[in-house]
Amino acid sequence: MAKKEFQRPDGRKPDELRPIKAKVGVVPNADGSAMFSTGDTIAIAAVYGPKKMHPQHQQNPEKAILRCNYNMISFSVADRIRPGPSRRSMEISKITEWALEPVLMLENYPNMVIDVHINIIQADAGTRCAGINAASMALAHAGIPMRGIVSSVSVGKLDKQLVVDLNKAEEDWEEGEGATDIPISMTSDGKITHFQLDGKINNEQVQEAIRMAREACKKIYEIQKEALKEFLTENEGGKNG
C-alpha cells in the first residue's frame, strides 16, 4: 500500500495541542484552585490545607500526606456515568498523587494533610493530564512550597504515527495497529514524574514520544505560568507590589 499523508481527525498537526485555557482562583472557598481545559476536556482542581490529619493514626510525623481525589461528574460524558468512586477513578487519584508528590516540599508540614479534589466537568480524553495540570496550578495557588510546577500531556500512537494530546475520536482509533495512549507528566526542568503506557510500541518510538511530550509540556508550562501570574497581577493590582 502506498504511504499516504497522515491526517488527524480534527486536522491538527502531529505536535499540535488542542486550544488550552487555564484560570486560577475559580473556587472561592478553597485555599487554592484552578481550572484547566484542553479542547473539550475541562478539569477543576481545589486544594484544601495543609490541615490537621484526621484520623490521627494516618498522620506521618515526617511529612504531610497528599490526598488526591479524582472524580468524573456524571454528566461529563455522552452516556451518563455512575457517580461515585470507581476502580478507574481510584487508580487515577493515586497516579495523580505520585505525579505531584516529587515537586511538593511536604516535609515542611508534619502530621498534616493536603486535600486535592479534581473534578472533570467535561471529558474528551486526556482527563488525567488535565487534572494533573489543574492540580499543580491549584497547589501553587494554595501557597504550598514546591520545587517546580508539573505539566502533563498524553502522547498517542495512531497506527504508526505519534501525535500529542489525543481527543476521544483519536483515543478510539481502530485503523492499522490501533491507538496506544501514553500520558506523561514532567516538571518544568524536564524531569519525568509520571509515565503510563497502555498498548504496543517499540523502543525508538517511546524515546520519540518522550521528546514530543517534553516539547508539549513546555508549551503547557508557559500557559500555566501565565495563568498564575495573571491572577496575582489582577487581584493585587501592583498596589503593594
Binding site: G143, I144, P145, M146, E236
Partner: protein, 223 residues
C-alpha cells in the same frame, strides 16, 4: 530585578535572579548560581537578599502576630486555643497577667470563650501564645467577623489607615487578628453591624485601587 527592592510575581520553580552574589532568603533556594522561588507570590530582591512574599494560601503563624482564637480545650497548666492553623496553639497559665487558680482554669477562660492573644513563639510541635500586653485577653462582648487571612493587610491599610477610618466612622473598637478573625466592639449593635459590613466590603473589594476613598464614599451612602 536589577533595581533594589523591585518586586515581581513568581511561581514555584521560577528563577528570580541569576548570579553568584545573591543570597537565598525566605521561600527561595539556590540552584547553581540561580535563586529559585519555592512559593507562589511576589519575588523581592534587596541588598542581594532574595525572598518571596506569599500572597495566598493558609495563614502561617509568625512570632509577634496578634491573633484571635477560640478556647478548644483546657489542660492542667493552660489552654489549647484554635487559631485556625493546623498546629495547636497553647496558652500557658504563666502567660496570664493575673492570679489563676490551678484547680479552676475554667473560671478564667472556659471552652468556647474567645481570646485575643499574641504569638510568643512557634516550634516544631506547635505555637505558644501569651496574653501579657495591652489589648490582649479574653473577649467579653462584641462581635467577631471572619475574613480570608490574605486580606488582613488590606483591612488594616497603609499604617492602619483603613481600620482607623472604620473606627472613626463607626465609633467601634476594632482588633484585627492576623489569622483573619476581627473583633468589633461598639456602643450598640447597629454600629457594630455597620463596622462588620464595612470590613466585608473592604475584604471583597481588596483589589480595587484607592480603596480608602472608595470606603469613604460607601460610608456616606450607608448613613
Amino acid at each position: 530585578m536589577s533595581e533594589n527592592g523591585k518586586r515581581k510575581v513568581v511561581i514555584p520553580g521560577e528563577v528570580i535572579v541569576e548570579g553568584d552574589e545573591y543570597l537565598p532568603g525566605e521561600w527561595t533556594e539556590k540552584r547553581g548560581n540561580k535563586i529559585v522561588a519555592l512559593r507562589y507570590g511576589l519575588g523581592e530582591e534587596s541588598k542581594k537578599l532574595v525572598r518571596v512574599i506569599p500572597l495566598s494560601g493558609i495563614y502561617h503563624p509568625r512570632r509577634g502576630n496578634v491573633v484571635i482564637g477560640e478556647v478548644e480545650n483546657i489542660t492542667f497548666n493552660g489552654w489549647i486555643i484554635d487559631i485556625g492553623t493546623a498546629e495547636n496553639a497553647f496558652l500557658s497559665i504563666t502567660e496570664v497577667p493575673k492570679y489563676v487558680n490551678q484547680n479552676a482554669l475554667e473560671e478564667v477562660m472556659d471552652i468556647k470563650d474567645m481570646v485575643v492573644a499574641k504569638i510568643k513563639g512557634t516550634h516544631k510541635r506547635g505555637i505558644d501564645l501569651t496574653i501579657k500586653g495591652r489589648g490582649l485577653g479574653k473577649i467579653e462582648e462584641g462581635i467577631i467577623v471572619k475574613i480570608n487571612p490574605n486580606k488582613v493587610p488590606r483591612v488594616i491599610g497603609k499604617e492602619g489607615s483603613m481600620v482607623k477610618l472604620i473606627k472613626n466612622e463607626t465609633g467601634c473598637i476594632i482588633t484585627v487578628g492576623q489569622n483573619g478573625l476581627i473583633w468589633i466592639k461598639g456602643d450598640n449593635v447597629d454600629r457594630e453591624l455597620l463596622a462588620k459590613k464595612a470590613i466585608l466590603f473592604v475584604a471583597e473589594k481588596s483589589f480595587v485601587d484607592g480603596l480608602t476613598d472608595e470606603l469613604k464614599k460607601w460610608f456616606e451612602k450607608e448613613k
